[in-house]
Symmetry: C2
Subunit: 451 residues, 2 copies
């Protein structure tokens, strides 16, 4: 862009305006897609100046015709139900996919990439399930594959992981990457409500879908965890590699326990690198609710916001915060990728290709080192603590803190462990449940962030 644009804030530029347009095919025109269309038209002059040529939408694939979308009339001539036909057109440079799901999205994008078209996608499920198919097709076609919108919506997160941190060694990524569950847990924390009540509120306010399974059972977060782990550790990680525990089991009592510890509960996606028990450099990728101290930067992330906490050897602690969902924020990330892909079309440059050289093994959850907070109702008689402590010792789990509170016959033990293999911790809980002196296990939660 060595040309001389006009002064005074006008981004028009004759030399640039004269360049042929970069032609965009949009697959899907729902909440995100229609915002992409609107913003692309509204900011047309700015985008042209930034790219060096105008962007032009040449086709929009939708499931059903007959409805105006993205401010475009029904008879604009742009809408089609033949997505594959649109992808195959010779006059398409960049394919933008905001449909979601594995098929037929995968077939469309593989076709686009193999034939050298640039792809911008927000499809986390597909990337987590079979990112390899896309990356391989991109390599075959020497094509750009951008997917910033697939994780944490508007937050510029993947480009930093993909590029800025490439001189560093990322050791851990801990994220709140699902707005629905964060809204529910923030509300449980604030009001003392139980899960069902908080979910109901979230549904009424439009934060939760009619079927909230993908969110509350952690499927959505697990897909994002796989994408983040792949980028952070230069290793292909798929959704199948991610241990997943949803947050439907978090009770008002758990939240109260957390509060007593100066903590709150968040549904976290965690991707961690380090040596396993045998000393092998490996990664653990998991999604589960966890207690974190209120002093942790993630604890203050309320409402439906997302945030991702990154720890790297040289950079230290970093956090990225913003809106993780919604049509307009997600469209911001999609448009940023479209600008990058369009610039590359003009210059012949390419995005950094997939970096998967490290091929680190992924540990099963049992071999992940975690910490537990366990809340027990026990008989109030001498020797209880000794018996309980013996169970921990048998499973080689070291206890960090114990708090004992007795009220007549009803006594409570609150135990926080040091880090231990999750399998040992789970076995400890199982053994405790079989002790006669343990009346009930009131709460078991994993702990993160240095409680």
């Amino acid at each position: 862009m060595n040309s001389e644009p006009a002064r005074g804030g006008k981004p028009q530029n004759e030399k640039e305006g004269d360049k042929p347009a970069v032609r965009v095919a949009l697959l899907g025109c729902g909440t995100v897609g229609s915002e992409v269309v609107r913003l692309l038209h509204e900011q047309s002059a700015d985008l042209t100046a930034r790219i060096g040529a105008p962007l032009e939408i040449v086709g929009i694939a939708v499931r059903r015709l007959g409805r105006a979308r993205g401010g475009l009339p029904v008879d604009s001539g742009l809408f089609t139900t033949d997505a594959l036909g649109l992808v195959k057109r010779d006059d398409v440079d960049v394919v933008v996919e905001v449909v979601g799901g594995i098929e037929p999205a995968r077939s469309w994008l593989v076709e686009a990439l193999r034939t050298g078209k640039s792809v911008v996608t927000a499809n986390k499920a597909l990337l987590a399930e079979d990112g390899a198919a896309l990356h391989d097709a991109a390599a075959d076609g020497n094509a750009d594959l951008y997917y910033e919108a697939s994780v944490a919506g508007a937050i510029p997160l993947l480009r930093p992981l993909r590029e800025s941190l490439h001189g560093d060694r990322v050791t851990k990524v801990t994220g709140i990457v699902n707005g629905t569950t964060n809204f529910i847990l923030s509300s449980m924390d604030a009001t003392g409500a139980g899960f069902s009540e908080a979910l109901e509120e979230a549904t009424e306010l439009g934060y939760a879908e009619a079927d909230p399974t993908a969110d509350v059972e952690g499927f959505d977060a697990a897909a994002k965890a796989a994408i983040l782990a792949s980028l952070a550790f230069h290793t292909r990680v798929t959704a199948a590699d991610v241990f997943r525990e949803g947050m439907t089991g978090v009770t008002a009592g758990d939240m109260a326990s957390a509060k007593e510890m100066g903590c709150t509960i968040k549904l976290l996606c965690i991707a961690e690198r380090g040596p396993d028990e045998a000393g092998v450099d490996s990664v653990s990728v998991r999604v589960h609710p966890a207690m974190i101290p209120r002093s942790h930067p993630l604890a203050g992330v309320g409402d439906a916001f997302n945030a991702v906490f990154v720890e790297a050897e040289a950079a230290g602690q970093l956090m990225f915060y913003g809106r993780g969902a919604g049509g307009t924020p997600t469209a911001s990330a999609v448009l940023g990728d479209i600008v990058a892909a369009a610039r590359n079309r003009l210059t012949g440059f390419r995005a950094p290709s997939e970096s998967n050289y490290a091929h680190l093994p992924v540990r099963p959850i049992g071999a992940a080192v975690t910490r537990y907070h366990i809340n027990l109702d026990v008989d109030d008689k001498p020797g209880v603590l000794a018996a309980v402590a013996g169970v921990f010792a048998k499973h080689e789990v070291s206890i960090a803190t114990v708090r004992q509170s007795g009220r007549e016959e009803d006594a409570k033990l609150v135990i926080v462990t040091h880090g231990a293999p999750d399998a040992n911790l789970a076995a400890t809980v199982e053994s405790l449940s079989q002790l006669d002196i343990v009346r009930s296990i009131a709460s078991v939660l994993r702990v993160e962030g240095g409680v």
Copy 2:
């Protein structure tokens, strides 16, 4: 990188290892430079895998020879005092500058860029004072200019602004970009200490330099504000365009006033875009202490951490958080840029060039719309509030809230205004100081973040 690396976490790669090295010249080997050398050697295998070829340091320019640095022996043959000679060598691909200051750094980097060498620099003063010289030289030489480390150290911030947000319209950037002053203000907030006492503590702990002027008077933050504003608004902004007010005037009383309002005080760098009084799209760039509500994400940024809050039309609110200074965190950002530049050397690609098409005018501070918090000691008699309110009205400043507290003859008025041109607010304060019924103006602070 289509090659097949060995399995098992080993980043060595025969095909890539065979490629000739990308040759790096380092200018400066102090705190940051020696960490760059250390990390570059320590992570050599990983960096080679990520780049596709090894990195090799071919020379290090220092002011004085005779000292081992970065783990390299004195007689390594790498050290030289002739920086310009090093830059001009034919066997240099990437020039990394961590010396700082305007000259001779500018001459070195302009020479490097003009002759097509890639430049990675952490030099905020130079970029803010005369970034144009560097960008123009980069355009002339078709060379890469990367400077992630110049603002907010380890935080990946410039790449997101330079690339990820290019499909969006940034409206405001509000940052805590100076760790020293943030440490001092956080300490004043926590302990009630005055400025001098907190500065002394910061000096003892190594957070403040012997001469803290650049930090506490806001020069450092102003340079960073210019760089952020240039990127956010596609407009060349220099240090001279930035209004700067240091934080040496912030008193323990100011901090107490802020606390009473549910606020804290931070030294903020602010870059804002919007229509001025005449409706002209323009930017305001300023550094000054300001009250922000404790609920604002920036309020919780303690210690010497940095954070930058970005507001964009589509993305909404974003925040980037991390370590803004220190040898190792800054080296992380420098190394990320080295990897990007080195990759480009191999592929022939280039970083996105400077984007300055918008040419927005920069408003003087008087025309910036700000809000004031004013704490007055007044006579306790009827008519005082009416007289005071009259002064605000005369200067066309609208009052948001007034709190009046009288104790015998000593009464206090705490006033927070709505947004108004800063010149009107300053004139209001001047007029108030001349009112007989105003005994003293206890505190005047700008307010940000929706108090």
